[in-house]
Symmetry: C2
């Protein structure tokens, strides 16, 4: 008799208790994902939200903190109308990657490898796909670098970052942009002190200019393969001397043939 009932026996699945604030987060996230809330829109105030969701203010606030840490909203006291829905979300991706790096004890070598691959691909796509406007933006960023070269090392560094950013955004793949931005920031944070005290700064600057100029030329020529090869080579030459022989050998494996 029991066996005849077996087929009809309901299949229960394990449940995980859902905390109130998680429901709140999910509902607001959903509203953003589905476009009911677009960047610039304002959420109701915390006191309104607690009425709408039927929860206490503490619960609402926990939800808002989670959303804020995810970069979805931003709240500021005194702002009429409550928290603001934010536009960018690459910040969250970058933060997640940074956490990963810090937890995983990832070394500079691995980060350089990552940069070679991601920035290289971004350069390649930028070379193949850029239009007039995009090329103009890259040319201008490069010009800024040349200007800043005479000012200070810091100014040049900033212009350098801006140039990489311009190139990456021309790849029209925001994942590449976000990842190369994160990797560059992290590498810089790890190596600034080492690089500064090594070699003649102005020589470094000239060398960097020359290299970047070279692959900008390849971009102009729409020669993606060459541009990528040069970009990767650039990183190897720039950071290689500061790595262990082991790491140096590894990153060399990722070089591409030129021409």
């Amino acid at each position: 008799m029991t066996s005849s009932r077996d087929e009809a026996r309901p299949q229960f699945t394990s449940v995980t208790p859902v905390r109130a604030y998680e429901s709140v987060v999910a509902q607001i996230e959903d509203a953003v994902f589905t476009g009911q809330l677009v960047p610039g829109d304002r959420l109701p105030s915390e006191r309104d939200l607690m009425a709408q969701f039927g929860v206490s203010r503490g619960t609402v606030r926990e939800a808002l903190r989670v959303l804020e840490s995810g970069g979805l909203i931003r709240s500021r006291p005194g702002d009429p109308g409550g928290a603001t829905v934010q536009a960018n979300s690459s910040a969250r991706l970058a933060k997640a990657l940074t956490t990963f790096v810090k937890l995983g004890q990832i070394g500079v070598g691995e980060l350089i490898e990552f940069r070679m691959v991601v920035e290289g691909s971004a350069v390649r796509l930028a070379a193949e796909l850029h239009d007039e406007a995009a090329l103009g933006a890259m040319e201008e960023a490069f010009a800024r670098m040349e200007e800043a070269a005479g000012v200070s090392y810091e100014a040049f560094s900033a212009a350098d970052v801006a140039f990489h950013l311009a190139v990456a955004s021309c790849s029209s793949n925001s994942l590449f942009s976000a990842c190369s931005e994160f990797a560059r920031d992290t590498v810089l944070a790890l190596t600034t002190e080492n690089l500064k005290e090594s070699g003649d700064p102005s020589e470094r600057i000239q060398e960097t200019l020359r290299r970047h100029g070279a692959y900008l030329q390849a971009i102009r020529d729409r020669d993606g393969r060459t541009a990528e090869a040069l970009a990767r080579q650039d990183l190897v030459d720039y950071y290689g001397p500061h790595l262990s022989p082991d790491e140096r050998a590894r990153i060399r494996l990722l070089l591409l043939p030129v021409g």
Copy 2:
């Protein structure tokens, strides 16, 4: 006179108010990042933390929610000793990427591009650097795929993922492994329904086996360039038919010459 004081004038910089919970988050994050807290360790209870930090319980809870949403800790009621420090995982990365996708900042095409580049490089490094044990692991993962091919599509998929994981981990760059893992997860989540209803499953399985076998052979030969080229080609052939002509053209730009 004022001009003589100008040089001594202190340079004030803009300040951003730091909220109490942010300090709490920062301190706990720091403890985890510096290794004072390792996965499995327990934080003090919320009531203890509020005493240690000198803030209210609400503030402590907001901080813990942020940390929890970041995947750094996990808390459960009744657990003696408070929240548990979590092991590093790519789960948070996948979530951040999913958010990125859902916000419409990125499409499947861009994800495929990212996978081509990252997985390709992982395969290349695996080919160049693997030792006996690593090769054994990859061979075994491939054998599992062959076994699972006769069982079910789901089993095969799982074995497929495991194979990619084995290869990625042989690149000995955890950034590559993690990135290819979360990118693959996200792509699968976005495309599973589309791929299932297209073509003969068993034919897809055989095709996948053949391709993977091909670049496993290149790995055996320590031919990193070929292995990477094949891995990238694999992705183009596998996903290309399901992309728009535009996206298809883009991902083709990232192909590498074979041989």
